[in-house]
């Protein structure tokens, strides 16, 4: 499976390179790289799939103008570097790929860097993903693992089995970044609870929540990486475990919660593998700030950016239901936000023993 994917990658890259070479030498025509356009203006909400998907817009990268030559060169250099990585059967972070391809271009006073910064190289990696249709984890370019999981589930990695329930009062397991290498072996939990931040997860874990409610706790430590999102989707769709999501009561936190449920603009081309439309975003609602009497000193004033984000969100098709509109209006009205940590003001166990159970009972999960 994993090796097969890598072989597929090498085949695709060779095909692309061959095509360029033939265009130039045999056809005497400008070679063109076709990529789907990524971002806001090529992201489409699919009512049917209940997720963000990519539209039909394409980008053509061709060395036909002085402006596009560097980009064309960058994509090819990165594609070749990844092929080398696979040839060596190694793994690399995106920073590693950046270092591996560092160079200067030109000479004398016109000398400049091949990459302006790591951002350029990251973009080239993304382009290689789009050109080959293979996500970078599968061609061994990974990020630092961020996701953590704890609870009655076993992961098979290589020949080894990791029991995420072991030590689950003391520690969590990192979610390996290449989910292609991971098989889920045994899921005994009744449901999956995703929280925004690892500190909150630790607090909940410590309270014995996993044991008491037979739950899997999972976090992306902020913005979730693809492995974490895939893990959530697999647990929900293959293992049929209900998924609930808790994030801070601010537009930023709500955005993170929605990554799991509807996807994101920057990864919309990969939504089919990443998004869990059945996930339920349960909290922290803006109304909870007042429902649960979070004292004023623990609330934060919304920034202008928050307000803008919330106004944007209000217009999104996936936010067109009464409850979300009510919540966003409340926020825009009060201009106050709140972190989940604020519940500690009510005592260290309030979050795991009062708030979360109440919320879970509302949807009938416990």
């Amino acid at each position: 499976m994993s090796t097969a994917k890598k072989q597929e990658f090498v085949t695709i890259i060779k095909r692309i390179m061959r095509k360029i070479s033939d265009d130039v030498i045999k056809q005497n025509q400008m070679p063109i790289l076709d990529l789907p356009k990524i971002g806001y203006d090529n992201t489409v909400w699919s009512d049917e799939k209940r997720m963000l998907t990519t539209g039909d817009k394409k980008i053509e990268v061709s060395p036909d103008s002085v402006k596009k030559i560097p980009t064309f060169a960058q994509y090819l250099v990165m594609a070749n570097a990844v092929k080398k990585l696979i040839d060596e059967d190694m793994e690399s972070t995106i920073r590693g790929m950046y270092y591996a391809t560092l160079s200067n271009v030109g000479d004398g006073k016109n000398r400049q860097k091949f990459w302006t910064g790591q951002e350029d190289s990251d973009n080239a990696i993304k382009a290689v993903e789009l050109l080959t249709g293979i996500p970078r984890e599968e061609f061994s370019v990974t990020s630092k693992p961020k996701g953590m999981i704890s609870g009655p589930i076993k992961l098979r990695v290589g020949g080894d089995i990791i029991d995420c329930n072991l030590g689950s009062r003391a520690t969590s397991q990192l979610i390996p970044t290449n989910m292609g290498d991971v098989q889920i072996d045994d899921v005994k939990a009744d449901f999956v609870m995703v929280v925004e931040k690892d500190t909150v997860l630790n607090n909940i874990r410590k309270s014995g929540f996993i044991q008491k409610y037979n739950a899997i706790l999972l976090t992306g430590s902020g913005e979730p990486d693809r492995a974490t999102r895939m893990m959530v989707k697999i647990l929900n769709e293959q293992w049929k475990k209900p998924v609930v999501v808790f994030a801070d009561a601010d537009p930023w936190g709500l955005g993170i919660a929605l990554r799991y449920k509807i996807g994101s603009e920057s990864l919309s081309y990969d939504s089919e593998r990443l998004v869990t439309p059945n996930a339920q975003v349960l909290g922290m609602m803006f109304s909870d700030i007042y429902q649960y009497n979070i004292p004023e000193v623990a609330r934060l004033t919304a920034s202008d950016e928050d307000i803008n984000r919330a106004n944007d969100m209000k217009k999104k098709p996936w936010m067109q239901n009464k409850q979300w509109q009510k919540e966003l209006n409340l926020f825009l009205n009060k201009k106050e936000k709140c972190e989940l940590d604020a519940f500690f003001k009510h005592g260290f166990k309030y979050l795991s023993e009062t708030y979360l159970p109440q919320k879970l009972r509302m949807v009938g999960l416990i």
């Binding site: 390179m17 130039v24 030498i25 005497n28 560097p70 090819l76 070749n80 080398k84 030109g106 016109n110």
Partner: protein, 634 residues
């Protein structure tokens, strides 16, 4: 004021009575010498002011008769140990009738300039101040050679001023034989004075600046300036002269009891009716309208004019103050004009300090002692209304300005440099400020060998050199944004800043740019009596801003073109360096080295780039009369 009696209390008791009588009334000459600051003659500025007054008198004298000015000024140290300087000024103007000459040179408040039109200087004071200072501080006579346009003969005078009485002392007056003529023009005036003054470097630079800037707005003049640093020649670059200002009748809304009584007294002997006198003495006032005015005061039209009392006349003044008249006409103004200012801007002569003997663009003649009678190097520009820059530019290129005589300047640190911009543009507005018609002229010169930003200010063709910070022109420059015209501050700084960290906030001030403002009016709204800077009076700023915006539009078109060209060049150079990355990646990925790939790819891209226009150069208005742009790239 409280009179002499208080003197009883004074310390000096000897001869009190006599002292009182002598000092009771001051002669004009004594008053102005004692309060010389009123005319700008303060300690360090004496030589600067003296040169100004002499040059401005010469220019006015030539212009009133439409004579192309040829002026020779010289400032040389005469006696270092006593700070004595010889100042000489010679022109080809009208000269002065020899009977009137002594009072014209020495007696304060005597002038031919007392009339309503645009002129230079403070009338009846400047030249007299130069003479009085010479008399006050030295025992040398003022020497004058004079050939009046109505006399043919040349006279030589030696004069001094009797400061206590405001009268000239004629030490000598001689009719010269032809062979002794100093003035080689058909008419002219030459003065030589010894002045006592210290010349500090700041003032010296201001003097050079003054002469340079004068040559810019008077490119139809030939100015030779000789100092101990060398001889600086500012050539005549055109024979076009702005129309001279015409004297006009006063406008009735400026009438007061004094002007009205003066008008009446003028026609005293002619038994004219009051309405007739009014319509003959004021502009924009018809006989009918004058009759209405007199009738409205309740006065009888039949009363002989001489019988009106002051009380009657004040009623006329009052009515006139409240009556709406047409705006005054502008015949009394003499703007520089598009042609003349453009020529000035296309060949800015400027005295520069030479560091490291850089001789590029230096031009100075060594003909120190011989007056330059006819400037054979004169570039004859087209006589038609539209002087296009390209014609001008090519003429310049064909006939370069004379080669510098290095010997003469080798020990000096100064030289004259001609700056040639790649773009000049001009615009003007006529408006009414302070009840006076006012012409705002602006010009802009950009690029070429202009080294950096500079603002030039002129009022009635006189350069304003001091107090730039508080001038309305500064405000105008601060308030008109060039980046609204399509260039960002970043772009401008990257392109032009020598020091990228420059603290200068204004984009405009990092550009190699000269901006010219010229305001003409019979009542310039100076900020202070020192006449160094112009106030933001009425709508003046609005009109200046409007002019500047128009200039900026032309400028930004030019700069955008330059930026695009430069950017394109850089990129084309770069593609060659990217190709190896592309070729190596393909070869490595395919695990085989196709030797043709590099060559084919290179050919493919080069063909492609050469076919496709890399930048769309917007030729736009480059050919219009006020925007001059040499061809840069096809």
């Amino acid at each position: 004021e409280v009179e002499e009696l208080k003197r009883d209390n004074s310390k000096s008791t000897t001869n009190l009575e006599k002292y009182k009588i002598i000092y009771n009334k001051k002669a004009e000459s004594e008053f102005f010498v004692d309060n010389s600051a009123l005319a700008g003659f303060t300690g360090e500025r004496i030589l600067y002011m003296a040169i100004r007054e002499l040059i401005e008198n010469s220019l006015d004298s030539c212009e009133s008769f439409s004579i192309l000015p040829s002026i020779k000024i010289s400032l040389k140290i005469f006696d270092q140990s006593n700070d004595l300087w010889t100042l000489t000024c010679e022109d080809n103007g009208t000269g002065i009738n020899s009977d009137k000459l002594p009072i014209a040179v020495c007696s304060f408040l005597t002038s031919a300039k007392y009339m309503e039109k645009q002129q230079r200087g403070l009338f009846g004071v400047g030249l007299k101040m130069v003479a009085a200072f010479s008399t006050k501080d030295t025992d040398f006579p003022i020497k004058v050679w004079n050939k009046s346009i109505d006399e043919q003969d040349e006279y030589y005078f030696e004069l001094r001023t009797d400061i206590g009485t405001n009268k000239p002392i004629v030490l000598s007056k001689k009719l010269l034989l032809k062979q002794h003529y100093r003035i080689q023009y058909t008419s002219g005036f030459r003065i030589e004075v010894i002045l006592r003054a210290k010349l500090v470097p700041v003032t010296k630079n201001k003097i050079y600046e003054y002469v340079s800037e004068t040559s810019i707005v008077n490119p139809y003049s030939s100015i030779t300036f000789e100092t101990d640093d060398g001889v600086f020649q500012f050539n005549r670059r055109t024979s076009i002269m702005p129309n001279p200002a015409q004297e006009i009748l006063p406008h009735p809304s400026d009438m007061d009891l004094k002007t009205l009584k003066k008008a009446i007294s003028k026609f005293q002997t002619q038994k004219m009716s009051l309405p007739k006198i009014l319509s003959s003495s004021f502009q924009k006032l018809s006989y009918e309208k004058a009759k209405d005015i007199v009738t409205n005061t309740g006065l009888s039209l039949k009363t002989p004019t001489g019988d009106f009392s002051e009380h009657d006349l004040i009623k006329i003044v009052n009515i006139c103050k409240k009556t709406k008249f047409q705006n005054p006409n502008t015949d009394h103004l003499s703007p520089i004009g598009r042609e003349v200012l453009t020529i000035g801007m296309m060949s800015e002569y400027t005295i520069v300090s030479n560091k490291g003997n850089d001789s590029t663009g230096v031009t100075a003649t060594a003909t120190a002692e011989e007056p330059i009678l006819h400037d054979t190097n004169l570039n004859p520009p087209g006589t038609d209304d539209t002087v296009t820059a390209s014609t001008f530019e090519s003429t310049q290129n064909e006939k370069p300005t004379p080669t510098p005589f290095k010997n003469n300047l080798s020990k000096s640190n100064f030289s004259v440099k001609v700056l040639k911009p790649v773009l000049t543009t001009y615009t003007s507005r006529t408006c009414v400020i302070n009840n006076r018609p006012t012409v705002v002229e602006t010009g802009l010169a950009y690029g070429g060998d202009i080294p950096s930003f500079k603002l030039y200010r002129f009022a009635n063709k006189i350069p304003l050199l001091y107090d730039e910070g508080s001038d309305v022109a500064r405000e105008v420059i601060s308030e008109v944004e060039i980046n609204k015209m399509g260039i960002t501050k970043k772009q401008a700084k990257e392109q032009f800043s020598v020091n990228k960290e420059s603290k200068k906030d204004r984009v405009i001030e990092v550009l190699p740019l000269h901006i010219f403002f010229h305001i003409c009016s019979t009542k310039i709204p100076y900020k202070t009596a020192g006449k160094e800077s112009i106030a933001s009076e009425g709508e003046l700023k609005y009109y200046m801003k409007s002019c500047l915006s128009e200039l900026y539009r032309k400028l930004s078109t030019q700069i955008r073109k330059e930026l695009k060209l430069k950017e394109a060049e850089n990129k084309i150079r770069l593609y060659k360096h990217y190709l190896p990355f592309i070729v190596d990646s393909i070869n490595e990925s395919l695990g085989s080295k196709n030797s043709k790939l590099n060559e084919s790819f290179s050919r493919l891209i080069e063909n492609h780039l050469s076919k496709k226009p890399q930048i769309d150069i917007d030729i736009g208005d480059a050919s219009s009369a006020d925007s001059t742009l040499p061809v840069q790239a096809s």
